[in-house]
Symmetry: C2
Subunit: 287 residues, 2 copies
């Protein structure tokens, strides 16, 4: 048996990946923003995401409607990060005794806000008593072409969909589904959303693509300063675009051009003015 | 706004059903054992089920492997109850600080036991810190013909797949997937699994089918006595078979024949010897 005494979320995912026997129908299992499976002729995305009181949010900081919205938006952001869109969403709700029907009503109306906006259906779920309020939002989506974390190429331009640190932790946010749709006509080689922090999430692309990168520090848009590079829950998209893309300027106008993919032996580096140094990896993990 | 101050699980599901806008692609939404959706040419089953420490199980009563097995078996039982089979399963895990890697290893090996046996793939999930250990198991399955709770017909014979009260709460159990497969060649009009109790779960069939029933008390197999009629978590199948079914005797040999579907105005009744009385409805709800 493997030794796995202390394990963070990244390690847990690695662990699941090794343990889970890969079977027929699974195109991408554990390790990307969504799993990708094949059923008959259809290729589907599957995803779940936990939103737990005291871990991901504090009840006193948020309305119940915002809790419902934010829990769902996090999953929608994962579909966006694969170049996909949601079709069906289910919710498993852990419900403390002190939560009344009006609160549930508000949570569901938060879910339905996005359901109407992005045309997916709420198809069910489960509910049970729990000490802490939590939502596990799971869903099925589709993507004509899956954009993975693992296919960045040397020479790719690195883009960020919006400034870091600009979106409050206790409010709903707009998942970048429109942007993901817009990107369909471009040669996007890899994509991820910023959930644990720009530096760590982009590192996941590098690790899975077996590549290095040079980031341009002065071009990375942030709100409060360099700490934003490590701030989680921005839910902006980081994506890399093939150097052969002819409409690169169009992307540079709409998004932030923040670096370039290099070969693996270059490492993970950042340039400020004319000085280049190693990136120190860090980020928030909910584990 | 509706008044929903006190709400149990049945009411919550009713509430979700009313609130969730029914959309394209949803064949059956909230309210059956699984949701049924259409993606392209494929018809799919979707389901999630919570398994929470202190609500559904006590850690001191179970091994970690059993916790993983039981959490998954509950969902497999729902696929069985729709006449289907699982294809892809995901797990969202709430993990207390005191759970070590070996415990996780055991939980995952419990999941993989069924994964190998029933040929589905573990395709991912999520994990986060939590005060109490919990698993939200969600999955995608298929059913050539969906067997609903809502299509029992007057004259149907009512069957039960196994005795009530025979399966311990703190051990893994065999979901009735083989039985569901066997039933494919019979005219089964409706089906449900016993999760909250035989009397209440069968009542769900009657309510959704707008039918009544006469149960034969002396034919209902139980282990500890009549209290088993109200015991939850048996995970046996209750199904009703059309009176035109020609191989009814074959079913009577393999399963327990426990009653007959009647018209709605007959009510929900039970016969002991020659006396017939109303059934009192009750069952355990995790809410």
């Amino acid at each position: 048996m493997q030794k796995i005494i202390a394990m963070d979320e990244l390690q847990f995912i690695d662990f699941l990946r090794k343990k889970a026997p890969k079977m027929k129908g699974v195109i991408r299992g554990i390790g990307d923003d969504c799993a990708q499976v094949k059923v008959g002729k259809e290729t589907l995305l599957l995803k779940s995401d936990l939103f737990i009181e005291g871990v991901h949010f504090k009840k006193k900081d948020m309305t119940y409607k915002s809790i419902g919205m934010r829990a769902v938006a996090r999953v929608l952001s994962d579909f966006a990060a694969c170049g996909g869109a949601p079709k069906f969403i289910g919710i498993s709700l852990g419900r403390p005794k002190d939560i009344c029907g009006h609160a549930l009503n508000d949570i569901v109306s938060g879910v339905n806000f996005y359901s109407r906006k992005y045309k997916f259906s709420l198809i069910g779920g489960d509910t049970a008593r729990s000490q802490k309020l939590f939502l596990d939002v799971w869903g099925l989506g589709t993507a004509k072409e899956f954009i993975s974390r693992s296919s960045a190429k040397a020479g790719d331009a690195i883009f960020l969909s919006g400034p870091l640190g600009a979106r409050p932790f206790n409010k709903p946010f707009e998942p970048r589904l429109e942007e993901a749709k817009y990107l369909k006509s471009f040669k996007v080689n890899s994509m991820i959303d910023v959930s644990d922090g720009f530096i760590i999430d982009f590192y996941r692309i590098l690790k899975m693509s077996k590549k290095g990168a040079l980031l341009y520090e002065d071009s990375i848009p942030c709100t409060k300063g360099k700490s934003d590079f490590y701030r989680g829950e921005d839910y902006e998209l980081i994506f890399t675009v093939d150097k052969k893309e002819q409409r690169l300027n169009e992307l540079k106008k709409r998004f932030y051009f923040v670096g370039e993919i290099k070969n693996k032996d270059f490492g993970y580096k950042i340039k400020r003015g004319s000085s280049i140094k190693k990136v120190s990896i860090g980020g928030y993990t909910h584990f």
